[in-house]
Assembly symmetry: C2
Homo-oligomer: 456 residues x 2
């Protein structure tokens, strides 16, 4: 008979953190502020008020170290949180490594990813402000699903523009969103001026997150009862996601272990931020040693190949200018990449941490990622989201090399709505664009010539 | 600010039950034994040895009240168990009911249903007996997924025959099984004599669980290294599933509540048995008052409309004869029914409990079930498996009528691989066969004329 061993730590509801962590309070150097594209001056609350409720605007600029999570939000979190931290004994065995590997699993949420961590408070604060409808964009669909779930919890309506490439390629995502009560359109659509402008140039456009953001923002700005919700990039989104890392810290205490490498996938940056920001705090304030590394797709390498510059968050140029690693706001990532993570920019906070060398980043091809994803599925049982396979691939590489004693993987979601991508992988049909391709380099260089000028 | 309220109880790994409950020990009257179809005598261990390892055969006939769960099985269970018991505050609110509603959620398993509870021990005991390959059937696919997962955990191969109607209608189920390392064929197939016989009669056969069982049994019986694994019906399968109800009992203690109605969906009976058998024990030994009710599909109503008789478990007549509620072993359920639960018979233990009036049963149309499923998804966030919607529909009806103070729903799995069925429902395309249809009545009456004779 084998000896019992702890597989996972699941905290009780009473042990769930009740505050989000605001990394702005502890950053060694402050990040550059967002600027108004018309004046070149830092944006104020009034600039954001047409799109966001005041509670979220205040969180966006808050300097407080911690922000209390409202009880109404905790109540919905408790449907699935605290999420488990699992020791990956199966993966360690197939790798034959001495490295201890853990994963923090956010796929246990009703929407199947980490996205409800911010969808729920965003719906709550909007509801509190009298808003009855939220609009948003979604790429692979994780965010749209999460916001549909959150809106249903608070009796609100949810209208979503999904990048056309994903809308066509993942029909079950639409069904999932509609079952949860959301309304979903392919983007670019004929419902908005921004969508129509794109379709005039290219009637067969496969879309991009930047275009879909423009459409959702346009619709929200036109209605006093509707606001816009963003699933990544902004400070308040990063803030809400920190419950992931805060829980993980408590769970490592139960395991009596400490990860000296933390890896998360990075698209807009919210999963990476949520997982890692509390670990930065432990490094800065408690001198804990930890390497923090983001993993992005080789076909959309904003951190590792983008420029650190002021750029728009959307394609039509409707958002404030944010200082971030960007491939250019009108760069359209190739739809061959199966997962999400296909966004031209990176969260300003994550960009700042990377620029100041607090955080590392690597880019990976999707074949390396799916290799790791299938290995993980057979070893641990969970089929990871294509996004999450990026983090797994880096952890697999590092564990084989035994570079670290203990690794924490951010397993941001499951891949059950992305099985079409696994089907393509198993059939040997996945291809990749990498920085070695002249086509990708040229496409980014072109887009970067159109970075906005900053008014003096 | 709202007051905190407990949403769910998640036990720690240390609190997880370490024994399965064997209802045979406590049954008020013993159930009729399975018979050898050639001799009409009760089957002995030697009759089952070509298909099952001795550990499982002994469990099949054991009279012990409890059976220890091996540490190797507990170790895999800990990947997702204990599963949560969740108070359905959202559903209670939309129903406007005073009834307290809870659901025991088995969809948190890697395979997305309760099926790994028995797949894991079946793989383990076979591995221990030197078996390297398991064959099985699957209908909607939950069982095939679970056995693929379990085989991967123990380094075994898994070969699956899936009912053709589901194989064609749910392509992502195949991808999920292949990603987990399983091999899957549509049934009837040309790989077996049983499959070829069916295809000769009907080249366009959409298959049935009975046919798929015949194919898997045939292949296992031909190889000394391969065994067969059944996902429902047999006593040892019911036994393994009792961890669901045992956990629920502990969790109700934390909630300081007691369900006076327990409802579960019933196809072959394993989910219903696993959820409810420990509650029967509490009724019999501790005088706890509880109504226990199975919910089956109106298109395949074995409990409510079948005959209680000795019949084969499969279509080709290769299994022992079991006394059960049956629609006839060559009854082929109409593939219009979207979920699983399409099996001609019912677990002999569940049948015995129904026949002795210990358990109630009702049949429901799939439209009533999906109505409840979508209501549940918007209220609780989780999209239930089509099978599980049967239990939800009955709970919704009883809660609206406020017939009980507290209801426990067995939420056997999530529906993320069954979104095609939700798509059909949302498009208004789901139809039903019910007992009011002469066609269904005639089809069952025909099949019942072919019940096997018992040798004297």
């Amino acid at each position: 008979m084998a000896e019992p061993r702890a597989r996972k730590v699941v905290l009780t509801e009473d042990e769930m953190p009740t505050r989000w962590y605001n990394i702005l309070h502890d950053l060694p150097t402050p990040p550059p502020p967002p600027l108004h594209p018309g004046t070149g001056q830092p944006v104020g609350p009034e600039d954001l008020a047409p799109l966001f409720p005041m509670d979220l605007i205040l969180q966006e600029v808050s300097g407080e170290q911690y922000i209390d999570i409202p009880e109404e939000v905790l109540d919905v979190y408790r449907l699935w949180r605290p999420s488990p931290l699992i020791r990956a004994y199966g993966l360690e065995r197939v790798l034959g490594t001495k490295t201890r590997i853990y994963y923090k699993y956010e796929g246990a949420s009703p929407a199947g990813s980490h996205k409800p961590n911010t969808a729920v408070p965003q719906a709550y604060y909007n509801k509190k402000a009298g808003i009855t409808k939220l609009t948003t964009e979604t790429g692979a669909g994780q965010w749209g699903t999460a916001l549909s779930f959150a809106c249903a919890q608070f009796g609100m309506t949810c209208e979503i523009w999904q990048v056309r490439a994903s809308y066509d390629g993942k029909p079950y995502r639409k069904v999932m969103i509609e079952t949860l009560g959301g309304v979903i359109h392919p983007s670019p659509s004929t419902l908005t001026a921004s969508g129509r402008a794109i379709l005039e140039q290219d009637p067969h456009s496969t879309g991009s997150l930047g275009i879909a953001i423009s459409e959702a923002v346009e619709v929200a700005a036109q209605s006093p009862d509707a606001n816009y919700a963003l699933g990544s990039v902004l400070n308040h989104v990063m803030l809400h996601q920190t419950i992931i890392g805060e829980e993980a810290l408590l769970q490592f205490e139960h395991f009596e272990d400490w990860p000296d490498l933390v890896v998360g996938c990075a698209g807009g940056g919210s999963n990476l931020a949520g997982l890692t920001f509390p670990f930065f705090r432990e490094r800065w304030l408690n001198n804990r040693k930890v390497v923090i590394r983001g993993v992005e797709p080789a076909s959309c390498p904003s951190l590792t190949q983008g420029t650190y510059a002021y750029d728009f968050g959307d394609t039509a140029g409707m958002t404030p200018l944010m200082k971030m690693h960007t491939l250019g706001h009108d760069f359209i990532p190739d739809p061959i990449h199966a997962g999400g993570l296909r966004y031209h920019g990176m969260s300003p906070l994550v960009s700042h941490l990377y620029e100041t060398k607090e955080m590392e980043a690597v880019a990976k091809t999707q074949r390396e990622c799916f290799d790791a994803g299938v290995l993980f599925a057979r070893a641990e049982g969970i089929i990871p989201a294509p996004e999450s396979t990026h983090a797994i691939a880096e952890a697999v590489r590092a564990a084989k090399a035994e570079e670290h004693g203990s690794i924490l993987i951010g397993l941001s979601g499951h891949g059950l709505i992305d099985l079409g991508a696994y089907q393509a992988y198993l059939a040997g049909e996945l291809t990749d664009h990498t920085w070695a391709d002249d086509e990708l380099k040229k496409s980014v260089a072109d887009a970067l010539t159109r970075l906005p000028a900053i008014p003096a």
